[in-house]
């Protein structure tokens, strides 16, 4: 890719410490990512200084040394989401790993849902064709229980790599755990935040009108009711030039269950009754969440019910929405950071550079939606090599470079990412962005991580689109709850009761046990 960007950028980490060779080469590749923007020089200097202060990255260098010694001929295949996510393997970590260890990495690509299907199919065939699986946390219980993946604890102990976990944000440190074991290396901090237009919220005319109507100052909404009120207000005042908010609501893309999970639990709901395992999504919390969501729709640009996520990003980048709550790439694309790479040619250039503020989600509980954990396939014939690759790939120094690649859609997740001077130098407000991401993870709620998560999510997603299309809210949720009960029955009520108890142990399973509530919050400055 962007070869034209690479010249004279070779030395982003010009004075590397530790293993000079690997850092230097990775820097070259990274240069492809960070083209010469106004903040590039600053980023370059900061990165050099930062790595000097870190004293290298023993996790990465040890993994490389071990792999070079024993597995330099071993070809690893990793399954990743097709498109930009897989491109990272092809263009960055794959070639770099080969350079450092001599071993090849190939990427098998599949659309998100089909990673799941393919991993299972390969497991049924015992083909051993996959070594590393980009696993969504939601699939971990199923993959773990059915022997699709192996826990990494033994190998972590063998290679004395425990330190790789200590630098993870507490939320992400615990997400890969299931039944007391660790099932992989967390690799994508997909927490939702609220992105808003600073210029809109500072607009004197709008502020005056707001004050006249509500007898208080216009501010970034703190709760969902306020969010609905504010976005409807902006829409009423400015549409069709500008709408209050707008997220992609198309069925299955990205999946409406995320929206519901987020607001339902912020309202105080929980998925099941832990004793009877009856679905509770149709209780008063559910109705409240769904009513709020319908109000959001009303304040959104028309047609939003059918927009996929890219389209709603497009609307946002064209300056047509005042707020959007979404995945972390939102911050990067708003500043045109991602679009500097040619590969990222599917989003318009941002018309709102420098105008975007970052905030916690209304009610603080943002969904940690989707995400990936790099897991080792149980049928792999090269488990140890796969392990070393995944360990290296997610190590502090390498993962920092990967989350800084403009095109990958991988988002920061380590304390050291949030603190990274290099990252903070990518655009003027990048520091605030990183701090907001870290804070959002403190209060985030997580996707359902149970067997059948895909079934439950799909039932809810369908019910929600039916409600968008005019079905009664209560009736729609009742039907979804009925579907949930029959899914639970099919998988086994006892099994699911245990699984749900296991899920409830994870931080963010409900709004009452977020990282903050558990007293584990990290505060980045």
């Amino acid at each position: 890719m962007s070869d034209d960007n690479t010249e004279d950028l070779g030395g982003i980490f010009e004075k590397p410490v530790g293993r000079r060779d690997f850092l230097f080469d990775s820097a070259k590749l990274m240069a492809a990512a960070a083209a010469a923007g106004p903040f590039f020089m600053a980023a370059k200097q900061a990165a050099a200084a930062e790595l000097a202060s870190l004293g290298g990255d023993p996790i990465a260098t040890n993994a490389v040394a071990a792999a070079k010694k024993s597995f330099s001929k071993v070809k690893i295949s990793k399954i990743a989401e097709s498109g930009p996510q897989a491109l990272e393997v092809k263009n960055f970590s794959g070639p770099l790993w080969k350079k450092l260890t001599g071993a090849e990495v190939v990427s098998v690509e599949a659309p998100f849902a089909q990673i799941h299907s393919k991993a299972i199919a390969e497991h049924l065939a015992k083909s051993g064709a996959l070594d590393v699986i980009d696993t969504s946390p939601a699939w971990i219980p199923e993959f773990a229980d059915r022997g699709v993946i192996i826990p990494v604890d033994d190998l972590v102990a063998k290679y004395k790599a425990k330190a790789t976990f200590s630098d993870l944000h507490p939320l992400y440190r615990l997400l890969g755990k299931y039944k007391g074991k660790t099932w992989g290396f967390f690799d994508d901090g997909d927490v939702w935040c609220l992105y808003y237009r600073k210029d809109v919220f500072a607009d004197p005319k709008l502020r005056k009108a707001y004050k006249a109507k509500f007898k208080r100052d216009l501010r970034v909404p703190q709760g969902w009711d306020e969010f609905d009120e504010t976005s409807q207000f902006i829409t009423d005042q400015m549409a069709p030039k500008l709408y209050g908010g707008g997220e992609g609501r198309a069925l299955g893309n990205p999946g409406n269950q995320f929206y519901f999970f987020q607001q339902f639990r912020n309202a105080g709901g929980q998925f099941f009754d832990p004793k009877s395992m009856k679905a509770l999504i149709n209780d008063s919390h559910g109705v409240k969440a769904m009513t709020q969501i319908m109000k959001e729709l009303k304040a959104s640009p028309p047609g939003i019910e059918k927009l996929d996520f890219i389209s709603s990003w497009g609307v946002w980048l064209n300056g047509k929405t005042a707020m959007i709550y979404a995945w972390p790439p939102t911050g990067r694309i708003s500043e045109n950071y991602s679009q500097r790479d040619k590969v990222f040619a599917f989003l318009p250039k941002s018309k709102i550079v420098g105008k975007v503020g970052y905030a916690l989600m209304p009610g603080k509980n943002g969904e940690h939606a989707g995400s990936f954990i790099q897991c080792i396939a149980a049928d792999s014939k090269n488990k140890e090599a796969a392990f070393l690759y995944a360990l290296w790939c997610t190590s502090p120094s390498v993962s920092l470079q990967r989350v800084m690649l403009p095109y990958t859609l991988r988002d920061p997740y380590r304390i050291s990412h949030y603190k990274s001077k290099a990252y903070r130098a990518l655009w003027p407000s990048a520091k605030q962005y990183l701090i907001t991401l870290a804070n959002a993870a403190n209060d985030a709620v997580i996707d359902m991580q149970m067997i059948g998560a895909a079934d439950y999510s799909n039932a809810l997603d369908r019910a929600m689109t039916a409600i968008y299309a005019g079905k009664d809210i209560k009736k729609g949720l009742d039907d979804a709850a009925k579907e949930w009960d029959s899914i639970t029955k099919k998988i086994g009520v006892d099994n699911q009761r245990k699984a749900y108890a296991e899920f409830l142990k994870l931080p963010g399973a409900t709004a009452a046990n977020t990282v903050s509530k558990l007293g584990l919050a990290v505060h980045i400055t």
Binding site: A113, E142, P301, G303, E305, K306, D455, A463, A466
Partner: protein, 289 residues
Amino acid sequence: MDRHIRWLLVSPAVLIIVALTIFPLAFSVWVSFVQFDFSVSEKHPWVGLDNFKQTWQDPVWVHSLVVTAVLATLSVAVELALGFLLALAMLRPFRGRRGLMVLFVIPLFISPVIAGGFFDLFLRRPFGPMNWLLTHLLGHPVTIDFTIDGRWPFFSLILADAWQWTPFVFVILLAGLSAIPDELYEAAEIDGARPRQSFFFVTLPLLTPIILIAVTFRFIDATKLFDIIYSLTRGGPGTETYTSSYYLYQQGFEFFHLGQGTAGAWMFTIMLTFVSFWLIRRLLKPVEE
């Protein structure tokens, strides 16, 4: 000599089909009667007819059968009408006919999953041009969510399907039309038939077998409508546009309730066999003569 060779000639085709399908078919029969559900366990105890029962009890499945029947019938009807008219219009040679022929068959070369994706883009409000076009054609603002509002999702699916498959019907019917010997028309004319009459008494009856071929192949394929659903509506809104094939794909492949998905597929096969048997019997009549 011919007695041996006749089987020799048939055998490669038969063998390759048997070789590649016998295991999958046997496996899928077995799967329908055991518990084969990745979300339940790895073991596969015999469960008799449970998979069939469970599928049958899923309201989405029953709904999907109705949707499938309606969608298949309507799209084939639309394709037949369009294809027939187009074949009539293209029957006689004229300047530019060849170029048009090439244009007309293009949709056949586009993967349906992609065609669905582009109809999504084309119909989408507000970025797609469809509403814009209608607004300018009709002279008043049109804001329809073609994949959500009311019956429009069905319209959109039929539109996409017709766009893709009308060429198929058209090509076959055109072939049939141009094979009707001129003498018959001449004879009809001598008997004093007007063009309209010769259409109903010569063209249509002679074309019936060809229409049957087109309808049979199209109908069987249309009942398996999956790709366009997958990329255009994903079965939504709600479960409104779930076709059986899409439902089975989700159950069997996406969620890995393989037992249930396969049992459903067999039920579907049996139902479709009855329908297509009826069609194919008419198709094969000439062989029995």
